[in-house]
Symmetry: C2
Subunit: 396 residues, 2 copies
């Protein structure tokens, strides 16, 4: 007697989360150090020491009914002031607290944005491969995902495909750069072309098409690449951000939703998003960690381990015969499987106690995702298994 | 171009939240001590000192990637073990961690329960007056609220009305005891009769009717009253709980959803609720405060101020001519307005810098809600205004 939708979803649960649970079981059986769990985006690098110090200081010196109390549903004023100031400093913008809603992570931000804009049957365009949870977020509001085919050569933006996918019912496009699962960063010239396309489609259909930019990996970039700021390119932009990766706080559920001041009818959108944040059951983002990130707006975890993991894995795996696009950011790589059946390949990897996620989970069948936010030792110790796996499938 | 539903909701925002914002503005204008804000259920009594100590100790001595990392979507195993043990000790039950999902407060728990069970068009029965947010939570999943009339004499359960309201599309009944806004606690004999009614209706319609018990006020009771444990009465019961009031942590968004082990198809329900918790964007309850409440399962804030506030307000307001049912629990009272137009009456109260919420916000027109989770000084200083307000309306 549970809901038909949930009956289906419970029976076809998240492959990533199932693997996370399986990883915990394997760790109990073989010892944690003998399981190479590349399944989940759970940062291995600790939150900066200043996070601990700031949280302790807040707890020690603040009035508890203020620190743990209700504030406006959109978040503390001082926190949003501080974060707006930090964004303005970085991007040369002129945001105020009014443009920011503190959220329960980026997943909260995405749901708030989608609830704000979607009517049942509205379409949301995404380019494959993409984070599979977007399908569920869209479906929460009876929206319809429309998938653009990948450009498998380099996973760059497929603008021709996007043009084809956008129709009269298109309400939004979700973009995720640095990308999960490919590690691609979309360059400014492609974003400019995409903005032109969206503007012309808005004109053609006579209504707003929102860009929802999911940016939890913004701070994780390799080799001096930088991530363009989407609101500079396109007016009807939401940005969902999370401190899960940049400050290694995924369990604390803290992030924000930026609503561009240049968005059409921005005040109504802000009002509606504030209500959405409340009635979805979030009510507000967790209060202590709002204050923590407000005081640590410009801090970032040590990303060195991700850079070193990426270097080593890319070098070794390509040497073993794995084919992949070199990641420019995030902590994922998305190599091609040597067989068409990516689920069978990921199953085979378990023999070597390697946990990787089938690409079909990301609408990218025939590939696998490897989350390298693990310790360097895990990477080093896993290499033998990756080599043997490649050998088993005749890749070298 | 925002969603039609949100357009309506943004234009007809929460009266409670609007008043919270108005209260902040009035406090800035007249000074906080000169505004008597009885609008919001924001506890005035601080979290117990042990909460501060436990949080600091966790921050100081734990590995940050564990303390702030992802865990299972349903929450840390050790936390759920500890809370199950505490419930078993209190209620003589035999719950395990499997019966508990850690949630983003009770609002999160309610949304998870409703998403788990509701198909579009399913009906949810509630007795007036009730917390108006339930309408939004039900509407999130395209459910339909069905309202049972109050028994205005004492706000006790209206079982005849409930029997009439339950039909073939009834999927759930929401119960809230101690009640917001009336402060009523439903006694065991009424709950037993309600369980019989629900069981017979389940048989009549051939499907489960879930009871969703929203219990954030469980620990706030006056005069030795106690709050019966719903799963003892009825098998298909969810309990949503929050530490917002019992530990004065409303901003931290920490609570749980209990799924009775005697529920029909309990394993499927638990699986679906876990997925719902993830895809609604919560992902998991905030990690630090999961660990804090796991270690402080049997702690409660000092409720003395609520007891004294209730005593004084009840004594004085009834002396001024206000008519009301004496609250047995929670920190609300729900007096009758001297005029039919409750909005006009609450507007008139602002002259005396008293902020109270119209009963129509709770499907109880003609009344007003007074949240007395404020300082004793606020109560004392407000009395003159309440007296003058009563005089203005010819109540004495």
């Amino acid at each position: 007697m549970i809901s038909a939708k949930m009956k289906y979803l419970a029976a076809n649960g998240s492959a990533i989360r199932a693997m996370f649970e399986e990883g915990k079981e394997m760790a109990a059986k073989y010892g944690r150090e003998n399981v190479y769990d590349f399944s989940l985006g759970n940062p291995n690098t600790p939150a900066p020491e200043v996070i601990r110090q700031t949280a302790i200081e807040l707890l020690r010196n603040s009035e508890p009914t203020w620190l743990h109390g209700y504030m406006s549903n959109v978040g503390y004023e001082d926190v949003r002031d501080s974060l707006a100031k930090s964004l303005n400093h970085r991007f040369g913008t002129d945001y105020t607290r009014a443009n920011l809603i503190m959220t329960v992570g980026a997943a909260g931000a995405m749901n708030v944005a989608l609830k704000t804009i979607l009517d049942p049957g509205d379409e949301v365009v995404m380019q494959a491969p993409y984070f599979g949870e977007y399908n569920n977020y869209i479906s929460n509001f009876e929206g319809v995902p429309v998938v653009v085919k990948p450009q498998e050569k380099d996973f760059s933006l497929n603008l021709a495909g996007m043009e084809e996918a956008i129709g009269p019912r298109t309400k939004a496009v979700i973009l995720n750069s640095p990308n999960n699962p490919t590690g691609v960063i979309y360059p400014a010239e492609d974003l400019k072309a995409m903005a032109e396309l969206l503007n012309s489609k808005q004109k053609e259909y006579g209504h707003a098409i929102y860009l929802i930019s999911d940016e939890p990996y913004r701070e994780i970039v390799f080799g001096g690449h930088s991530v363009p700021w989407l609101p500079d390119f396109y007016d009807n932009t939401f940005v969902g951000y999370s401190y899960s990766k940049s400050l290694s706080l995924p369990g604390e559920r803290i992030g924000w939703l930026l609503i561009s001041p240049r968005m059409e009818g921005v005040e109504e959108v802000i009002g509606a998003a504030s209500v959405a944040n409340r009635i979805l059951g979030f009510v507000n983002a967790p209060s202590l960690f709002q204050q923590v990130v407000g005081r640590c707006a410009d801090e970032v975890s040590d990303m060195g381990v991700y850079i070193r993991n990426k270097e080593l894995l890319y070098k070794e795996l390509t040497a073993y015969g794995y084919q992949m696009v070199e990641p420019k950011g995030a902590f994922y790589m998305f190599p091609k499987c040597p067989i068409a059946d990516d689920k069978a390949f990921c199953q085979a990897a378990k023999k070597y106690r390697i946990l990787i996620v089938p690409g079909s989970t990301f609408a990218g069948p025939g590939y696998f995702r490897l989350a390298f936010c693990v310790s360097e030792k895990t990477v080093q110790d896993s290499l033998e298994g990756f080599k043997a796996l490649a050998h088993e499938f005749g890749m070298n």
